[in-house]
């Protein structure tokens, strides 16, 4: 019993010390896993230029970031999807006023194992694969193997974006869902690893995660259109069909330290970092 009391006491002290650590010179950034590397790169460069300021970046998913912003446990939420009306309502209730700033663009790559002979797909075929209507690679001209569909968890902005724009084709009344047997993996890296080791897997994630161990699929809007590779040039000129804005949310118009950081992210230098982390700068 005493041990338990001691444990709780230690936990309390720990919590107190964590909160005490959030002084005026620190910014807490939280949210989208897609954007963690970008946020981290910004934070490192920013801290290098502004010694004395402290920026902490954590992932967890867009939803996690936004709910932290609403509960005032972070200063900036990174999000790879737009805030939902429900979340805005909740924020207003708590006196938080979410302010959206577009900081970069991201192309969503659909990847397969390099051993897979299928190299290009239309958006319709993609939707059929991820909703389970096409279940074998044979139907797409590949090997006679069951398709293993990989998806991110529901807390991922990428998951929501992919569902709304690929599965449901931007139709708000559509009821399409990921096939129930889709594997829900908790990070983009987990999808990258599984695709690298599994010749019948297909998954999706931000372009930044593509490596030599996965093969990005060229995508066409429909059968008559050109098949387009997910590379930065094609996202900038709008040819690649699955790209989305990357956003940050602050409480009201950024002020003080938060403003300084946001300005840095949008500066030439900040946008160079965007390019270096394999995302697409906004005002090129």
């Amino acid at each position: 019993m005493f041990k338990k009391g001691l444990f709780i006491f230690t936990m309390l002290m720990f919590a107190v010390s964590v909160f005490a650590g959030q002084g005026k010179n620190s910014i807490q950034i939280k949210g989208s896993d897609t954007m963690v590397n970008l946020g981290q790169a910004w934070a490192e460069k920013y801290m290098e230029k502004n010694p004395g300021d402290f920026v902490a970046v954590t992932g967890g998913g867009s939803g996690t970031g936004l709910s932290s912003l609403i509960s005032a446990s972070c200063d900036i939420a990174m999000s790879s999807r737009n805030i939902k009306d429900k979340e805005i309502g909740l924020a207003k209730q708590k006196g938080v006023n979410p302010n959206e700033i577009k900081v970069a663009l991201d192309g969503l790559a659909v990847v397969v194992n390099p051993a897979n002979s299928v190299g290009k797909l239309t958006l319709d075929q993609l939707a059929s694969i991820f909703t389970g209507k096409i279940a074998n690679w044979k139907e797409l001209g590949g090997k006679d193997e069951k398709i293993v569909v990989l998806s991110r968890e529901v807390n991922s902005g990428t998951h929501v974006y992919f569902k709304e724009h690929v599965l449901r084709k931007n139709d708000p009344n559509s009821k399409e869902e990921f096939v129930p047997s889709a594997l829900m993996l908790s990070s983009s890296q987990a999808i990258a690893d599984e695709v690298a080791g599994n010749s019948s897997a297909i998954g999706y994630y931000g372009m930044g995660y593509i490596s030599a161990k996965q093969k990005p699929v060229a995508i066409a809007k429909d059968e008559k259109s050109e098949y387009v590779e997910p590379i930065i040039g094609n996202v900038v000129n709008g040819k690649y069909p699955i790209s989305r804005p990357l956003l940050i949310y602050t409480n009201g118009v950024p002020q003080g330290l938060v403003k300084k950081f946001v300005d840095f992210a949008l500066s030439k230098e900040g946008q160079d970092i965007v390019l270096a982390t394999d995302f697409v700068p906004i005002n090129k």
């Binding site: 009391g5 996690t64 709910s67 529901v154």
Partner: protein, 287 residues
């Protein structure tokens, strides 16, 4: 002076004792308050036996049958693997092993208990998952079986240490009596020691299972998390715990999804409470 000191310490300990019960009650009430709200949206029957889990759709589909079955399947698999090995190991340590090996084994098992579950999950993901995929020629190795094997490692230390305690606490006279009557060493273990320690061993098994069903991190990493009703142990499953862990961050506070996750918490609480009570009953029967 000494009396005052004694008094203060006594009261402090009393407060600690009450505090822990107080916290448990608070947690339970909070869980009920947040979780029961889901039944305004979906009936308890449809919640427990619904077959689709699409919590963020509009309207959400909140059926947790695939999750319950996923949890039970992984737990059952882990139990089948860990119980024979764990009890066998306990018998070896308590009855057969020479002193030196006994010390090494005990230290090894304590070490196994000390490995954080996320580390086990990670090791499982890079080693066990490809093996399972290749051995059974599966489309993916992220299956209930992989989860069961990894969780068996986690349940084993609990089972071994408690079962060994149970065997150790049997009066020496039982064993001596059996041997004096001409029973062999094995007959003594099988016919005398095991039945005498049965309630303790059962408690060990229950506590091991309790550990498995509540485990989150490792199962989330290696079971694939697909919310389908499993047809065999070689398919991906989604467990109750992994669902809460993966989705709590996203759930908008006060939404149907949020209440549903707390309701899953209640289901888990009920399951592990039942397991712990069973274990407790087994232990008390012994005394």
């Amino acid at each position: 002076m000494r009396k005052i000191k004694e008094f203060i310490i006594e009261k402090l300990i009393l407060i600690c004792g009450i505090a822990s019960i107080f916290f448990v009650v608070l947690i339970f009430l909070f869980l009920l308050k947040e979780g029961l709200a889901v039944f305004n949206i979906v009936s308890p029957f449809n919640f427990l036996f619904g077959k689709s889990w699409y919590p963020i759709s509009d309207p959400p589909q909140l059926g947790i049958l695939p999750l319950i079955l996923g949890s039970l399947l992984v737990t059952l698999g882990a139990a089948i693997i860990s119980i024979p090995i764990g009890v066998g190991c306990a018998i070896y340590i308590a009855e057969v092993a020479p002193l030196k090996i006994k010390e090494i084994l005990k230290a090894g098992i304590e070490l196994l208990a000390a490995i954080p579950s996320v580390v086990l999950g990670f090791i499982g993901m890079v080693t066990l998952v490809p093996i399972v995929k290749n051995v059974f020629h599966l489309p993916t190795g992220l299956t209930a079986l992989s989860g069961s094997i990894m969780l068996a490692f986690m349940a084993m230390p609990t089972i071994v240490s408690i079962a060994e305690d149970a065997l150790y606490s049997i009066p020496k006279t039982y064993k001596e009596g059996a041997l004096a009557l001409g029973a062999t060493h094995w007959q003594t273990i099988w016919r005398v020691m095991l039945p005498a320690a049965s309630s303790g061993i059962l408690a060990a098994v229950m506590l091991g299972i309790g550990r498995v069903i509540g485990e989150t991190m490792a199962v989330m990493m290696i079971t694939g998390n697909a919310a389908v009703i499993p047809q065999s142990i070689l398919v991906p499953v989604r467990t109750l715990t992994a669902t809460i862990a993966a989705e709590m961050g996203e759930a908008v506070v006060g939404s149907e999804h949020y209440f549903a996750l707390f309701a899953i918490g209640i289901v888990l609480f009920v399951i592990s409470f039942a397991i712990n009570v069973t274990a407790d009953l087994c232990l008390h029967k012994k005394q």
